[in-house]
């Protein structure tokens, strides 16, 4: 079995895993970090979203062996010390979830989204200058499905963190 070394939420980790293991299963099954969720296992729902080397990906479609040396942030790594991140707080105050199953993926996606906006990365609805708007958030969050339909409050939570009127 291949041995894989990577950094997860700031901690160096090494693990042995079958070559077929996805990054998602490595996190959940091998490393016991069950914050990241498995919804579809086929890249369609976004529940498994994690941030790798600064960009968000679907960990279910990524082989763990391909991540040798990478830096991974999961939902467990978003809090700042013992306190929630501003985005996590906003999800609570804006009531941005019901069952909570999609929430780890939503949080990782939204955290990365704010950085993408800050870096000026365009989306398909961007005209000239990138600025955070409801339309941009809906487009950029379309890879994270929510079976409970908490979408409106998720958009409000993200907008509120960006200092725009919610």
């Amino acid at each position: 079995m291949p041995s894989i070394s990577l950094t997860v939420n700031g901690e160096p980790v090494s693990a042995e895993a079958d070559v077929r293991t996805s990054l998602l299963d490595l996190l959940r099954e091998t490393l016991g970090m069950t914050g990241t969720k498995k919804g579809c296992d086929h890249g369609q729902c976004g529940a498994c979203t994690v941030i790798v080397n600064g960009t968000r990906i679907n960990s279910c479609l990524s082989l763990a062996v391909g991540h040798e040396g990478d830096t991974v942030t999961t939902v467990e790594g978003l809090a700042e010390g013992n306190g929630l991140s501003p985005l996590q707080k906003a999800f609570v105050t804006q009531d941005a979830f019901q069952c909570g199953y999609c929430t780890p993926g939503q949080l990782c996606s939204a955290t990365a989204l704010l950085n993408e906006i800050a870096r000026g990365e365009p989306s398909v609805v961007t005209d000239e200058r990138v600025r955070l708007s409801e339309e941009e958030i809906r487009e950029r969050m379309s890879g994270n499905l929510c079976r409970c339909g908490a979408y409106n409050n998720i958009v409000d939570a993200i907008l509120s963190v960006a200092g725009e009127p919610a």
């Binding site: 890249g43 968000r56 990906i57 679907n58 479609l61 082989l63 391909g66 365009p122 398909v124 379309s142």
Partner: protein
């Protein structure tokens, strides 16, 4: 999933040496998905995702892009935004940010069809199992081809990026296992199904895409539009990439490619010949659309795509000639 050997290639030469008996792994967003379903069962995966993954170089012959560059990096590159806006729009209308961050240029070209019978291993599919039949013919074929299909396969190629590359006359550069290289026009990379729908493209076994080159001076007026069932995160029902210049009030250097209509990105040569040199008018646009779709054949559920394609061609040409759309700098 079937077990396999995993090799990370240090160079393109390494990759083709190791790749002969296996498959190349880009972002894995299509291949890993198909391996989970055991539709793809490679014995060996040669990871090429880190090869040329940040290589975007501007030169006299154009913009040379490494096959490992991610879809999001290419879409957001300042030169792509400025000079090839239709490519940026096409990339950004595909999939989601998470998938575009992982997906590579090489893998996007060679992604396989989304025909639901290809994905369902209990159904007949000549592409998955040659000679087994095609359940799409009498099945639900709303997403299937209206141009260039055969009685063996009516699937469409699902990529947005490849449609843009075909319209921009990009060139795909490859390296073969014997060390030789070749350049293939992006519009000729994929093939029509004919009697052998198991082959999506013209590459040989073990042939690696190393780069794609975008021409230095593409037409100034460019436009990509994707018609889909919801406004984000859905494959195209029909899509269109159009590029041309207006020289002295006449259409020049026109190219049109359609997505979602055929087994490959469909260059609308017949429409192009009607348009080239003409002055923009509603009549000319309608003639071009009719000329291109004259050969179209519906399969039942997708008959509406014929009219939809015509209307898309006319609308795209009209908006572009009125200057309502992206103009490359």
């Amino acid at each position: 999933m079937k077990p396999f050997d995993y090799v990370r290639a240090g160079s393109a030469q390494d990759a083709v040496r190791a790749g002969a008996e296996g498959r190349f792994l880009g972002g894995g967003t299509n291949l890993v998905d198909l391996m989970k379903l055991e539709i793809e069962k490679p014995d060996r995966l040669v990871d090429v995702s880190r090869l040329a993954s940040d290589e975007i170089e501007d030169g006299v012959e154009g913009l040379r892009v490494g096959a490992g560059v991610s879809n999001s990096a290419l879409a957001g590159h300042p030169l792509v935004r400025e000079r090839y806006p239709l490519l940026s729009t096409a990339l950004l209308s595909g999939a989601t940010q998470q998938l575009r961050n992982k997906a590579t240029v090489g893998g996007n070209f060679l992604q396989r069809t989304r025909c639901q019978y290809f994905y369902d291993v209990f159904r007949a599919c000549n592409k998955r199992v040659p000679g087994s039949g095609c359940d799409a013919l009498d099945g639900i074929n709303r997403f299937h081809a209206i141009l260039g299909a055969s009685e063996r396969c009516i699937a469409v190629h699902p990529s947005d990026m490849a449609v843009a590359m075909a319209a921009l006359d990009a060139t795909v550069e490859t390296l073969k296992p014997d060390g030789s290289t070749r350049s293939i026009p992006a519009r000729s990379l994929h093939r029509l199904p004919g009697d052998t729908p198991q082959f999506d493209h013209v590459l040989e076994t073990g042939e690696l895409i190393t780069h794609v080159v975008l021409p230095a001076s593409p037409p100034k007026r460019q436009f990509y539009r994707k018609v889909r069932d919801r406004s984000s995160y859905a494959f195209a029902v029909v899509s269109i990439a159009v590029a041309f210049d207006l020289e002295g009030g006449r259409i020049a250097n026109v190219s049109i490619a359609l997505g979602g209509v055929a087994h490959k990105p469909w260059r609308a040569d017949r429409a192009e010949s009607v348009l080239e040199g003409g002055s923009p008018s509603a009549e000319l646009f309608a003639m071009a659309a009719e000329a291109e779709l004259a050969r179209a054949v519906g399969q039942g559920h997708n008959d509406f795509k014929i009219d939809l394609s015509k209307r898309l061609i006319v609308a795209a040409l009209r908006d572009l000639s009125e200057g309502k759309r992206e103009i490359a700098a």
